[in-house]
């Protein structure tokens, strides 16, 4: 036996410790079971199946997709667990996948209530879905299907990330142009929209995450980019609201679609009101006109705008956030 265990000090300490342990054991044994009041009152609610629209494309079927998410949100707000059922969809675009991921990861959306889901039955759509990297962001039994290395799935907080923007450009350029030459219009777009999210998506800087997804379509040699944040949305931001107020005072009632041209022209001042600010979205608009961009869509709040021809649609549902989608093609 070690010498220390024979000391008076040790014996005293050990006796005290044993007594305390016996006392605690007795206390635990005699403790009465009191069921939790919360658990008592809350009955387990059934899983609600939310069926995705057959054309599961946010850019092409915006209203229906917004309706789908709104229905899910309503159930989640009432405490029902939900299942995103996309098994029956007939068309799928990458923007819808990334939006679904962003919603699933958004705490203000799921409110810590369970969300289940499935994959499309259609084999081609299922392939796209599995390759999108969706399963990297959700829990799933068994092995997670791997996303292709040509897809970037990125969630980040607070900052503009120039190195990521470069990497994102290269992924699409190698596919669409078969080269890795510098392509400034797309790089500038990425920087400006990252900055826009950082500065304007919330009431304070860097409040919201942004997501970037690239899908290199092997059939069309097109790189499809989706960038989104789930912030306030461009038209609900303070600068846009201030501009809208002034506009409605001058010409009467107005809606968000009337802000599209002033936004792209740089007439809507930045929140800082510093004259040199607010060049970001006008630059995105200017760069979007490059002939390499086959399609360029912006969806924010209740506005859907095709930036190539300024065709603007007022939506019935509000999209809380901003999404840019474009296609790069040689």
């Amino acid at each position: 036996m070690k010498k220390i265990y024979k000391t008076k000090k040790w014996r005293k300490f050990n006796a005290k410790r044993s007594l305390k342990a016996i006392k605690n054991k007795r206390k635990r044994k005699n403790k009465k079971f009191i069921p939790s009041k919360i658990a008592d009152n809350s009955e387990r609610k059934p899983l609600e199946n939310i069926i995705a629209p057959e054309e599961f494309s946010f850019i092409n079927n915006t209203e229906k997709v917004l309706e789908y998410f709104q229905l899910a949100r309503n159930y989640l707000n009432l405490g029902y667990p939900i299942k995103f059922d996309i098994s029956q969809i007939k068309t799928l675009t990458p923007d819808a996948i990334i939006l679904q991921i962003a919603r699933i990861k958004d705490e203000t959306f799921h409110k810590k209530t369970g969300i289940a889901g499935n994959a499309p039955n259609n084999p081609e759509l299922k392939k796209l879905f599995l390759e999108s990297g969706f399963y990297n962001f959700v829990n799933t039994p068994g092995n997670k299907p791997n996303g292709k290395d040509t897809l970037i799935h990125k969630i980040t907080k607070n900052k503009v990330e120039p190195q990521l923007a470069k990497q994102a450009c290269l992924v699409g350029l190698k596919h669409a142009f078969q080269n890795d030459n510098i392509f400034d219009p797309m790089f500038d777009i990425l920087i400006e929209i990252m900055q826009n999210t950082n500065n304007h998506a919330g009431e304070t800087r860097g409040e919201y995450d942004w997501w970037l997804h690239i899908y290199n379509d092997p059939n069309t040699k097109t790189a499809k980019y989706t960038f989104l944040d789930l912030g306030l949305g461009i038209f609900e931001s303070i600068p846009a609201q201030n501009f809208k107020r002034k506009l409605s005072q001058a010409i009467g009632i107005t809606n968000n679609t009337s802000l599209v041209k002033p936004l792209f022209n740089g007439e809507i001042k930045s929140r800082t009101a510093r004259p040199e600010r607010g060049r970001g979205i006008p630059q995105v608009y200017e760069s979007s006109q490059h002939k390499a961009f086959n399609e360029f869509i912006m969806i924010s709040n209740d506005v859907h705008v095709n930036m190539k021809n300024l065709k603007t649609i007022k939506l019935n549902y509000n999209f809380s956030g901003t999404l840019f989608y474009w296609e790069l093609k040689k």
Binding site: K166, I182, F187, I191, E192, M194, R277
Partner: protein, 110 residues
Amino acid sequence: MEIKDTIMIAIEFGDTAGARDYEDGDFSGKEFYDKFLLPRFEKALEGKYILLIDLNNFWGWPSSFVSGSFGILSKKFNAETVLKHIKIKCESNPMKEEKAKYIIENPDKK
């Protein structure tokens, strides 16, 4: 005046442009202004020579970056002085020079 100094931006600063301010993230226009543009421009001004900004192999030229660097310089020293002492070169995209010139001449304009 002759060119006596060159900032090879892709080598000295980094190969990508960021946004405007430090709070926006890495490689911001303000960072470029503080660490490279302003000190080297002041030397050029003192030495009465031209500072060349070489943009080859540099990704991007977003307005926020240019405004956060050359726009500030123009406000501090005025457009005429800046354009007298700065030359911008980009073989792959000469439009970058035009854009910087526009922002130097109109630092407050959107």
